[in-house]
């Protein structure tokens, strides 16, 4: 970090490499598609480089980086929803690229299907607490909300996922109409 701050930009790659898979994976699970995950990764790295001087070294660098990634993904998803509502309103949406659709379908897993049930905040909380193994306080710090809010959203997320998974396990015959 000292090297990067003293002007050695090539040291930045070594600084962020340990968090590469975690960063891109989280971005993909939060946004739900590859293009936006790449964009989020790029924007996160850019912001991390720009604001590296303001990073508090007594805190975790990984949590700081994840916090930036969560904020970037949130704004990307918000922009996409806004654009989608605009397209719907004017019925002028362009046809999707078939290659991209195929790529997305390959990456779309059972986990992603389950995550789609959750709201954006529930998804953020669930991914950080249960899959990234951050504790409640760390999750609250990354997302930028209170611990109480994290608990509420985590409880809702687990409830929704349990209902979904138990429904899948019971099979279509046992599902409620």
């Amino acid at each position: 970090m000292e090297l990067v701050l003293s002007g050695h930009t090539e040291a930045f790659e070594a600084l962020v490499r340990p968090y590469r898979s975690c960063l891109l994976g989280l971005a993909h699970r939060l946004t739900g598609n590859i293009e936006e995950a790449k964009e989020a990764g790029q924007e996160t790295l850019l912001k991390a480089f720009r604001y590296l001087r303001s990073f508090d070294r007594e805190k975790s660098f990984k949590n700081w980086l994840l916090g930036i990634a969560v904020n970037v993904c949130r704004s990307l998803v918000r922009a996409r929803i806004k654009a989608a509502s605009f397209d719907q309103a004017f019925s002028a949406s362009a046809p999707d690229d078939p290659t991209r659709l195929l790529q997305d379908k390959e990456m779309r897993s059972h986990l992603m299907d389950c995550l789609e049930l959750l709201s954006s905040r529930e998804r953020e909380v669930f991914l950080l607490r249960d899959l990234e193994q951050r504790n409640i306080h760390e999750t609250a710090g990354i997302i930028g909300c209170s611990s109480l809010s994290v608990r509420v959203h985590l409880s809702r997320a687990r409830k929704k996922l349990a209902e979904r998974l138990s429904g899948t396990l019971r099979g279509p015959r046992e599902e409620k109409p």
Binding site: V16, R158, L165
Partner: protein
Amino acid sequence: MKCRRAKTLLPLAAGGDLSIRRDKHLQAHLHRCPDCRRELERYRKSLEEMKSLARTEALYDCSESEWRQMVRRAASLGLSRMRPSLPESRRLARTLGPALTLLLLVAGAILLFRGRNEKDIPPFPAGTRVGRVEVKELAPQPSPEPGLRQPAPSPQSAPVRPAPVEGTPVQPAFQAQAPQEQNITNLVFVSSESGLTIHWVFNSEFEWKEK
């Protein structure tokens, strides 16, 4: 704790996210409620299943060349957008500058206010020289015999206004110790007995004439 309350805590209890106090209450309830125990087990299983899915399913990762390109672009764009850090002296000047300006403004306002207070006193006409003389009233002489009242002084025998003698200039009972060229004289008489204060102001056109 009732089942309704316990069921709201079960999702958090499945991941061990309850506080010690609440967990203790919940455990006491679970000990005697098989329904809630089953519910908790269901939550635990679903959570484990999600975690195993996350472990087994491929996590998105870009290619090495893409990653390097992303980092390079971030560094180059970040450098171009980053503000150069100010030297210590300029940073200090930026901090102290507003404070000094404020201090000067306050000092100026105080000086202005004081000046105004002095201006509130109406000025004398131009070229006026002012003298101020305070003369105490002559105290009554102690009577030679105690118990006898001293007769009130008649106007003719008043010491402050002696009878003018022809050929001699008029001499007041007291002499104002003021510069001769001044054209306004202020005399103040203070009675030592009653505290009565009399102010006399003479201007340059005043002429004493005994009539």
